[in-house]
């Protein structure tokens, strides 16, 4: 397999309403930043891989048609990826797979969501005949899984507040983050209204406009560029409502993580991974994913969170950029995790840089916690 790395990451400013740009303009802003950071001309791009969440969100059906000019796909192969909320991650994996296949030297990949022009909550919950209307967006769907996690491991309620405050404190160090909440702390989180019990308002992700792009290239094209080497990547899926499925600790997440650790030669992720950008759209998913991804034993995740292990200066920093809890352009949210992991090992994360980060993990999940995409990036190829 061809070795590949990220040579450019480009992001937009994330905000509730990017009324200043069209969808095409939004996507292009991320692409221009990625191309600039990769120091690359359009001629060097061999294929373009586009990802976003369901077409029904913005009501633009097959956005790859409308966006072909904006993403520079004219005259080149284009592929559109969709795996619900994990799409930003799976798009990155598919783009990297194009390079690793040896068929493409350099691939541009971009993901986006323009939630201000969309109807994400209700597009997730259509009123189908013969079934009761679920009448809930993602938060309502995940709340029972979180309730079950709390019950299984007798986790105290402040854990959720703690994650929510920590990620927003990190966001204050990331000028691109959507939410900048001065003075954010656990008390402020716990004072906000209950949205989907046990999740409070500030324990939930915002609705954001934004796009994220990356340039991924083969080893022989890197030259003298700063690069985040892709050491392992994988995608896994499971059913939505399959009987016997453990929604709290999904098997697909366990398997996906094991796969990338094996590829990267990681036997102890807690010790060997320096930092991670993990898809945490609702606060409690931090301890749940700490366990699911093998950073600790079952029931120990909330204890790691409680003792600040996931803080930016902790033993296993999670979501230094502020995470999905601070910026959530859904289709892009997974790629932001992958791209931010790359920025960490490239030493380009500026004020939210983890000191001496050499190995980082990017993670995304989607659907009914049923689609997973992950990668490990490293500052060295060895």
């Amino acid at each position: 397999m061809i070795q590949a790395g990220v040579i450019g990451v480009g992001q937009t400013k994330y905000d509730a309403k990017r009324r200043d740009v069209s969808m095409a303009g939004l996507v292009r802003e991320a692409i221009d930043n990625a191309m600039l950071s990769a120091n690359l001309d359009w001629d060097a791009v061999d294929a373009v891989i586009l990802g976003k969440a369901p077409d029904m969100f913005e009501g633009v059906i097959m956005p790859e048609l409308y966006l072909a000019d904006a993403i520079g796909a004219v005259g080149k192969p284009v592929l559109r990826v969709h795996t619900a909320g994990s799409v930003g991650g799976s798009t990155a994996v598919i783009a990297a797979s194009h390079v690793c296949s040896g068929q493409f030297k350099t691939v541009l990949t971009v993901t986006f969501e323009k939630q201000s022009e969309s109807n994400a909550t209700w597009a997730l919950s259509p009123r189908y005949p013969y079934s009761p209307h679920i009448n809930a967006g993602a938060g309502g769907y995940f709340a029972p899984f979180i309730r079950e996690y709390i019950r299984r491991y007798e986790a105290p309620e402040h854990i959720g507040w703690k994650v929510a405050a920590k990620d927003r404190q990190n966001a204050l160090k990331n000028p691109l983050a959507h939410l900048h909440i001065p003075g954010i702390d656990e008390k402020m989180v716990s004072d906000t209204p209950m949205l989907w019990e046990p999740l409070r308002y500030l324990e939930s992700c915002p609705s954001s406009d934004g796009a994220c792009a990356m340039v991924i290239t083969a080893k022989d094209q890197v030259g003298s560029r700063n690069v985040a080497w892709i050491k392992g990547m994988a995608v896994r899926s499971e059913g939505t409502l399959s009987a016997g499925r453990d929604e709290v600790n999904p098997q697909a997440g366990i398997d996906c993580a094991k796969d990338i650790y094996n590829q990267a030669g990681i036997t102890n992720p807690f010790n060997e991974i320096d930092c991670a950008e993990i898809y945490v759209p609702f606060s409690w998913y931090e301890p749940m994913w700490l366990e699911n991804l093998g950073f600790c034993d079952l029931g120990e995740g909330w204890k790691l969170t409680d003792k600040d292990a996931t803080a930016i200066d902790g033993e296993i920093p999670f979501n230094m950029s502020g995470g999905v809890l601070s910026s959530n352009p859904i289709g892009a949210s997974g790629m932001i995790r992958f791209g931010e992991a790359a920025l960490q090992v490239m030493g380009l994360a500026e004020d939210h840089q983890v000191e001496d980060a050499k190995v980082a993990m990017g993670h995304a999940y989607g659907g009914a916690a049923q689609f997973f995409a992950m990668w490990i990036v490293s500052s060295s190829l060895d």
């Binding site: 069209s22 292009r28 009501g59 000019d69 022009e117």
Partner: protein
């Protein structure tokens, strides 16, 4: 196979409300239509796109330079509608046409009305007719008619 008449069916209607932001280039294009002007965008190679495009499909550049084109142009191709249906905007026979406006290098899809099929050919000179009420939409151009 079972008789499908015995199987359950139900209507299912799906409708959502959305918003659209046009961005700086397309906003200028539609605002200008409201002032009875047709704009295009010009690339670094001198190519003019009208309707305005935000990006050049060949050079991949972001297009920023705005130029005025038309209101006259030439028919590049057309499809004659002898019997308009209820959804057509014109109730008399008309043509859907690709019109290359003066000053533009690309074509606009619009309608040519108030003529007979025999009067229309590829290369026919046409000019924009404006709607009575301007709404900053492409239908602010009511249709094109043959130049006199």
């Amino acid at each position: 196979m079972s008789d499908s008449k015995d199987l359950l069916r139900a209507p299912f209607e799906l409708a959502y409300n959305y918003k659209r932001s046009n961005g700086p280039i397309m906003s200028k294009f539609f605002e200008a239509l409201g002032e009875q002007k047709i704009l295009g965008t010009k690339s670094s190679t001198g190519k003019v796109f009208s309707p305005a495009a935000e990006f050049d499909p060949e050079t991949h550049e972001s297009l920023k330079e705005i130029v005025e084109v038309g209101p006259g142009g030439a028919v590049e191709s057309f499809s004659w509608i002898e019997t308009p249906q209820h959804h057509h905007l014109i109730k008399e026979p008309f043509a859907f046409a690709l019109i290359k406006l003066d000053g533009a290098d690309t074509c606009m899809l619009h309608m040519v009305a108030n003529c007979n099929e025999a009067d229309l050919s590829i290369g026919s000179r046409v000019t924009a007719n404006w709607s009575e009420v301007q709404e900053q939409r492409i239908t602010d151009i009511k249709f094109f008619t043959l130049e006199k």
